[in-house]
Subunit: 482 residues, 2 copies
């Protein structure tokens, strides 16, 4: 038992130091490791498989809505960045440059892509001639680099993995509909796959993507009350089309600029899932993306061991066959208690225990990682019980995360109120905003909170700006953010 | 009809200029486009989907044999390359270097990975402590860059996509078994998914991977008789383990170096598939990786058009439902003949035609892309007929490709014979080899052919070296290669 206790205490409690809790958990659960390259991590198999499962489901959604995947070059000529003024200002400070290759100094420096609007723009101008070529709906799964000063595994790393959709359309209306469709797909994905509720809304001008006309985001709340931008979708207007000469002959034979969009989510979703659901015992993984959904642990004395393991193996085959991600831990040199702690720390949704008495009764014990509830179920109905419990776990996780947002959201009238609030606790704060960048900047300076977005469905409609007390244009969600 | 003919003649015949045929086909079928970065291409959706289908099947095979995916950093510190002497010599001439990032000159240059043995080696030395940590079986799907002087789309591009497996084992025996297992998986994959027969064998020392103890390869034959290395599997011995200090405590508590392997296939498989199966009308895609397996074309006069399209749509839904990759081309402004040519050029395995008479008879016409055979089949048995024909097409393609290798393989006794042979035609040539690098180099110098591999199953066992006439150690396959 001493060993069991020691095991648990290796994880810093969330209340004591949330950042340390996070690092403890992802290291201990072997989701990642630090690499020898500054700001870059190694995605270990259990971490990478979370991404594979995220990828598979999103990819299906993209394809069902008519998008196809392609692959564009990693390296982007320096001159491309110069073509869109805001874009170059936004990304130049973060670019790594290839200046030499195969022993030669390059004539033009090549940036490692921080995002591929410019490369897509260049190719789209070649591929798009007529309205018949539109809409053009392409997505790319790729690595990108942004040389970040302060990094945090998964959440902000110099190299990360993502998908970037880039589409071109005949009209503003169509392009805006695409922008919203993708934001909706992200929202639904977060809820139904990650059990993670998000706030949908529009970014203020100062928080827009470099080069976008409008940026929309989904914002999640981590367990320390900080916000995390979980996905973005941009309406780019004709800005990139103008910069890269993406023109088409319309149905009346007039030459027009295309309207373009881009949208993406990244491996930071892995970090989000951990910070939304984890607890002091470790990870709590959403059943639909967990690399392992059920761990089976045979228990009881040595003399019945062989018989128990035999039955566990039979049940294992049945679950495996049905597509449940399951494994048996029948190590003899590790105590059941130690195993319980280990798989709780790793966030496995269901623990299945089977001992000699369960054998006699034709039962097994299922233990939910999220509630700790123990459920005695019949072996001959095991698959249905597991399916049921996995769904319940998902629903419970989503419900708790929603409640957490409710419990940690507030509305304020004035900047002073907001300052007082942030002195006591973190969370989302709704307030009225006049629309001026100066007032927004003042909030940031005095509270450390940034405008997350202008939610589509605010809980209230505020009449006056929290800073200047002028008439409010919008109700904005402010929060300290990752 | 004039337009139809023009369409076909846009593709250079293979006999006239195979390289131009290849470029014509991949551009016209929109598999790729040139990018503004030297030696890098854009994988357009129809090209990229070939890779996605290759990926999906290989990934399943890797996982079924106990491997898991992970992701390691793109950038590798210069010092890492210095640790394995042969490795640095092999790759240094091809490396692109990041020297600046975010406005600062880097203290140590970072190479964009040409392969990740060094990065895996560094991390494995941290993760492997005891025999309990072995075997460690990790694969990575990633982009890599090798700054090539002469490039050819898919076959040799500066940036390409690949998978690289890296495993560590307790013993040489286990590591060698892994090396062979992966070579066998590649071989079976090429035959059963790509309809592409390959010659399995061991590379000669001069053709080994930089840093390997033994390299094994599979070699395919393109339709111009040139060889293409389609996959490699390396036994690395303890060389990288020594260079990166990958040590483990064995079962007797002694510290040992691990035995490691690596193995990979790349997007050059896309090029291989095109060059093995294509003909003067364009692509011929293997049914199991084709983005589109069946194209449905309604035919007949305008007055029955609506009715015919109605029936085509019903059949479309049935096939789609059953998982067939199918589309309907019901464009009214393009003639059926033009469509036939277009989808032949794009290599779609089956064309389905339905006209008013077929409506009356409850039939459709299926046309095989590979044989041109027309088959009248009953609509109410369509799915089974399609399945059957797809399988037949696969088998026919594999059979033809096997016969092509037989027809273009020869055995010679002397270098003179080989020279004469290569003056007339290309292909594989088996010959005896004494094992000296000098004799091998002389073959290359005088014929332009390189040793492809020492096949596991040579057609003959030659007694003497084709160059020096000394006793032959091996029978080697020589060929001009991509």
């Amino acid at each position: 038992m001493a060993k069991d206790k020691q095991f648990v205490t290796e994880i810093t409690p969330q209340q004591e130091d949330f950042s340390r809790w996070y690092i403890d958990v992802i290291k201990k659960a072997e989701l990642m490791d630090y690499s020898p390259v500054r700001g870059c991590i190694v995605f270990r198999p259990d971490g990478y498989e979370l991404w594979e499962n995220i990828q598979r489901d999103l990819d299906r959604r993209f394809k069902e809505t008519g998008h196809r995947n392609a692959y564009f070059p990693l390296l982007i000529p320096e001159s491309f960045f110069q073509k869109e003024k805001e874009h170059v200002e936004g990304f130049n400070p973060e670019l790594p440059w290839v200046t030499e290759a195969a022993g030669d100094i390059l004539e033009e420096r090549l940036a490692i892509r921080p995002t591929s609007e410019t490369m897509f723009g260049h190719m789209y101008s070649k591929w798009i001639q007529s309205y018949r070529d539109l809409p053009l709906l392409i997505n790319q799964w790729a690595n990108v680099i942004r040389w970040e000063k302060r990094t945090l595994p998964f959440l902000r790393t110099s190299e990360f993995l993502w998908q970037e959709g880039h589409t071109a359309h005949e009209t503003e209306e169509e392009a805006r509909a695409e922008t919203m469709q993708m934001l909706d797909i992200y929202t639904d994905f977060c809820e139904t796959m990650l059990a993670m509720p998000v706030i949908k809304g529009q970014k203020t001008p100062s928080e827009r993507f470099a080069g976008a006309v409008d940026t929309y985001s989904i914002e999640a709340m981590m367990k320390d009350g900080r916000a995390l931008q979980a996905g973005t979708s941009h309406y780019l207007g004709t800005k990139f089309a103008t910069a890269f000469d993406i023109k088409y002959l319309d149905r009346e034979n007039n030459l027009q600029y295309a309207h373009t969009t881009s949208w993406g989510v990244t491996t930071r979703l892995i970090g989000a899932v951990i910070m939304v659901h984890g607890d002091d015992r470790g990870l709590v993984l959403p059943p639909k993306i967990a690399p392992l959904q059920v761990v089976m642990i045979p228990i009881g004395p040595a003399k019945t061991r062989e018989q128990v393991i035999g039955r566990v193996d039979e049940l294992y085959k049945e679950l495996k066959q049905a597509g449940i991600k399951v494994k048996v831990d029948d190590r003899a040199d590790v105590s059941p208690g130690w195993k319980f702690n280990e798989y709780e720390m790793r966030g496995i949704p269901i623990r299945l225990e089977l001992g000699p008495r369960d054998m006699e009764n034709g039962q097994v014990v299922l233990v939910s990682r999220v509630t700790g509830e123990k459920r005695m179920v019949q072996q001959d109905n095991l698959l249905a019980e597991i399916d049921q419990l996995l769904n319940e776990i998902h629903d419970e996780m989503l419900e708790r995360a929603k409640q957490f947002i409710v419990d940690n959201s507030n509305v304020v009238d004035t900047l002073d109120e907001m300052k007082q609030l942030f002195e006591q606790k973190r969370g989302f704060v709704e307030a009225g905003w006049c629309g001026s960048a100066a007032c927004e900047a003042q909030v940031k300076e005095e509270t450390g909170a940034t405008s997350r977005n202008i939610p589509f469905e605010p809980s209230v409609h505020k009449e006056t700006c929290l800073v200047c007390d002028e008439a409010a244009k919008h109700t904005v969600v402010f929060a300290r953010a990752y």
